[in-house]
Symmetry: C2
Subunit: 195 residues, 2 copies
Amino acid sequence: MAETMFLFWGSGSPPCWRIMIALEEKKLQGYEQKLLSFEKMEHKSSEIMAINPRGQLPCFRHGDTILNESFGACLYLENQFKSQGTQLIPDTGDEQALVYQRMHEVLTLHEKLGTISGACIALGPGSYIAGKNFTMADVMLFPQVAFAVRFGLSTDKYPKLMEYYMKVKERPSIQASWPPHWKESPPTLDVLKDV
Amino acid sequence: MAETMFLFWGSGSPPCWRIMIALEEKKLQGYEQKLLSFEKMEHKSSEIMAINPRGQLPCFRHGDTILNESFGACLYLENQFKSQGTQLIPDTGDEQALVYQRMHEVLTLHEKLGTISGACIALGPGSYIAGKNFTMADVMLFPQVAFAVRFGLSTDKYPKLMEYYMKVKERPSIQASWPPHWKESPPTLDVLKDV
């Protein structure tokens, strides 16, 4: 099935990364992909504008179906491949509600990175963001956290968040989708050190 | 089932309204509810802060399960009551993808109301936002459109959008959930007339 999928992506872009994690978790390795450069403005190329008139990445295609919103693509992958790989959205009412709640809180987080430690993030010891299992809420959250850590988020101030980061980082889906340019160049900025 | 549900809401708030439309479409009438006043800052009352530390509406409770993100609550209602009332998310791959895509484009729309007529909105004649049926994407979109219309969006400039507005407005779920204070007071602002 993965061979009919195509992803245009940019390295280190949290929305792109979410889809890549979801593809890994759903055992959809082997999809076609093309890494584009934001620096070279390749996301504004005619190739992309034809698929996504807003000129943004990710652009994800499955057969003739195009999805270029990370939440939409991830929900689609979970629903279309429900019984394959990791179940990212639980069936049980209260567990499912928590996953949906946390998933969409991440959007708020995106708007206000400074509230990263806020009441909206309820990380228990050793837990994931919506309970004891890795879920779609983590697919949404982790790239944002990793992004913040790379750009210098104070690791001392957020011990629970760092514990979460260190644990989730080791997950095969995360390792397989780690931004390639992050491997090549160490983080040099510390723009978030005072957050 | 609806009798175990409780909604705290504010009149005219698009996120609150979305949940109310979804409840109507899923035939979950008869839920408990309480209308709060934003003007009187009732969304910052201790009653709300205890459930939602961010002090925002909607707050939706189903049994012991709390959801206060409109997208999360709507996805939850569709999944938990899939075979009841209107099917808001189709099963078929390409149809489902389009609904998820449009649903999440609405979030972008929320950020940039000025792009309401943009390429992201593909309204064919007589159609809904994700094809020929009313779906979750319409649940997300309609309150935003109605809000824009009330606040003076130029109806001449957006004929397709107005056609959509006039059609969807007549839907029973929309009529049943129409903001009460909009019924009492006509729109007087035209802040969006130049958009």
